[in-house]
Symmetry: C3
Subunit: 337 residues, 3 copies
């Protein structure tokens, strides 16, 4: 695809070469995100960071990524504070807000809303999650993390074995990620979930059609075996009709040190889109794995900044200018790793 | 008036020459707002963008206008998150907050609140709407749009015919706009509303006293005839005692393609302060006019950025320095017009 | 203490020499906060300004302090909009958010929460209030104000007489301030409160152990006598079980012009952490003192910016570089003092 000026709405926009391009640019962002250097390439540019659904990490991650490139961020964090509650159409909102900024990031609880908004927008729109539908930057940062983790084990993505665990029905991250992974070759997907929360049939079929192996199971112990990656998810309580209904499934599949040691291949990468639910009754990914070297969950969020910087640099067409405006960082940047 | 350091609280502060001055400065902001060039004239300055009432477009428009001049923005978006709920007076809030920034934009649900706040402020305060009372930057952007639209038809504001339609009782935009228009000569105002939502008597009298013609009517079809501008408004539901009371009037006056073609003079400019209520039961300005060249509603919001940039540049006294700090824009700026 | 890279969680971290160092740096920030000059020393740095409890003044004060040093600010203002409501631990939130910014300011309703968060953070964390527990930057700005006010009366902190009045049980500001003041010599504390809202016993004991004189009383008139400083506080309604319970105490201790003139020594400095509750039923500090030269409450909030700039400059280790990036301010900065 041609990135400059494009909307990023769905992982289905990407071919494998596009993903490679994004990851190459993300690699180049590392010294800036790690504060070894700074750049002002987007000095004067404005991001409209529009979140019409609760979010901390994604919103701040996008905002910081834009700041790290030198740009300014204007924000909306509350649907109640918005004209949408006064009966305004997404078309009007899109047309108006796109007159205020150079690029827009948008999250909205309704599937398809961001695409509808983008049709009226005169500037690029990046989908930061439209309800249960898509969350392309999350899928990209997940895949980027998979690539980096496997690379450090001298492996590639092609041929890998990945297990996805939990609420595979409502989790938009596993939907988008499996679509993206399917661009690669000969993947083995093990989908572990209660039957009622299994991966939508059309996604499973698509994966098989593209030549991948898909195993669906409710047996976590067995399903964990022989994977390179295990990807856990939270029960998406907010997508259920009632909290009670969500409670039925909460805590059903849990990974902790004991289970990991017993069933997982050594060095299996542990991933989670976060937030993980650490309450007693859920605890899908136990804190006793926090110091485990294969726990990649915080590398995922760190990588999110790189991938989002890459998306901004590509859609605003400044990739080749990042270094020109770079300079040394003059404040304390030692990190406690 | 002398702009540097002044509060902008009410359209009644302005003489015609002041309006002309603001519009001249707004014209000069066009290349910066359209991203043909960028300026850092307010690099280092801080705007306190204080919204104690829901707003997206006005808040973001002011914030972006300040960013476009190179300044930083600190924001408050929620009255619940504020000290006002702990019994703090507007005087204290004004005195304290004015120690944090170089200029303040404020919206508050209570008439007169912004003026009260400004009396304690040591920095300029711009009124972004104080309940049903005033919203001067909206009136200015409306009049600026009228001027530009008529100019493209080789007309001026003097002698124009304007119809205002809808909730003329609660709509602060039509109050402020008519006051501002009254600075010009020989205007014909046609005020179309249910009797219960008619323009306040003192405003009508003032318009007549200044030599303008005012027609009040409930007959929309007839009222639409012979105008240069038709200005529609939303039923201000939040100003009614109950939603039910608002519902009585919702959808009573609607403009769509068929009505426009039948009753309006060709090229009549269509305006609306936005948000328009596009729900079935309201729909005061139909989407079937979205592609109409005389629909100026999105040019209004675009112009809002120019006018707000002008107000900042004038009150902070940097008009003559804008170009000095200007340079080329280096990112993708092609707009989909 | 060694400031670069340190968390600022509690006043108990400081020795007297640390306080002196902070105040020296704060003094140097004056020309920048007063807009006589500007600096870009933190150009490119990002503050994560995370408020999980309502706050306007503290949040904006920290944000502006960072902007005044040239840095960018990303913000969280609502606990409902956060992953904490999805069961995320403070550890996870801390670890993730610290990957997004160079420094974090955090407020949270729960005592100890900020310290817990900081243990996972890889960047410095400044405590902006953890429930009833600590609020170190407030204590520092209060003490800084005391120092400046007494200095203008040719006095020092050692040997001063200070009265603290109101809800001394829940007011974290008086807890932190008295701890900080106790680093100095031979202070006389007069603690005026209803018995039920008196200063926690362990704090009183600590003050006595360090050689200070502590008088506890319910008699305000008598307690006001012979002080250099009177420090009033608001009833911390949000810390009571019910509003009714808070109402019992509201308005019990009030300072106004008449009482001040009758009982206080001339020139006694009047302080309050703000917001003061100006509702009829509370009104702990009357507006009839607003023009009194000894009313230091707004000098307190102004000083807050200086102290917070100092904390940022010290923890990010840029104190010696502030002037290097300084330049003249080019916009209107006349203040109405």
């Amino acid at each position: 695809m041609h990135f400059p000026g494009s909307h990023i709405l769905s992982v289905s926009q990407f071919e494998r070469s596009d993903v490679d391009r994004i990851f190459d640019v993300a690699d180049g962002m590392r010294p800036y995100a790690h504060r070894e250097r700074m750049t002002k390439v987007l000095d004067g540019a404005i991001l409209g960071n529009m979140f019409f659904e609760p979010s901390t990490r994604t919103r701040v991650s996008f905002g910081c990524a834009f700041n790290l490139l030198g740009g300014e961020v204007r924000e909306t964090t509350d649907i109640k504070a918005s004209s949408l509650t006064k009966g305004e159409s997404l078309y009007d909102t899109g047309r108006v807000m796109s007159g205020y900024s150079d690029i827009i990031v948008m999250r909205h609880p309704q599937a398809g809303s961001v695409a509808e908004f983008s049709r009226a927008s005169r500037v690029p729109v990046l989908n930061a999650g439209d309800g249960p539908n898509e969350h392309p930057s999350q899928a990209l940062l997940d895949l980027y993390t998979i690539k980096k983790e496997l690379m450090s084990r001298d492996q590639g993505i092609d041929g890998m074995h990945i297990a996805m665990i939990g609420d595979l029905k409502h989790g938009r991250t596993v939907h988008s990620l499996s679509q993206l992974v399917s661009l690669y070759n000969k993947i083995r997907f093990t989908l572990i979930s209660p039957k009622e929360l299994s991966m939508p049939e059309e996604i499973v079929e698509e994966l098989r059609k593209r030549g991948h192996q898909v195993i669906e199971t409710e047996d976590m112990e067995h399903g964990l075996e022989g994977n390179d990656i295990v990807y856990l998810t939270r029960i998406q309580e907010e997508r259920f009709a009632t909290k009670m209904e969500a409670d039925i499934y909460r805590g059903r599949f849990r990974l902790n040190q004991a289970i990991y040691t017993r069933y997982c291949r050594p060095n299996t990468v542990i991933m989670h889109p976060l937030p993980r639910d650490s309450r007693e009754e859920a605890n899908e990914l136990d804190n006793d794995l926090n110091q485990h070297p294969s726990l990649a969950i915080f590398r995922q969020t760190d990588n999110g900044v790189l991938v989002r910087m890459a998306l901004f640099a590509l859609t605003l067409d400044v990739v080749n200018q990042v270094e020109k405006t770079a300079r040394e960082v003059n404040w304390y940047t030692e990190r406690r790793f």
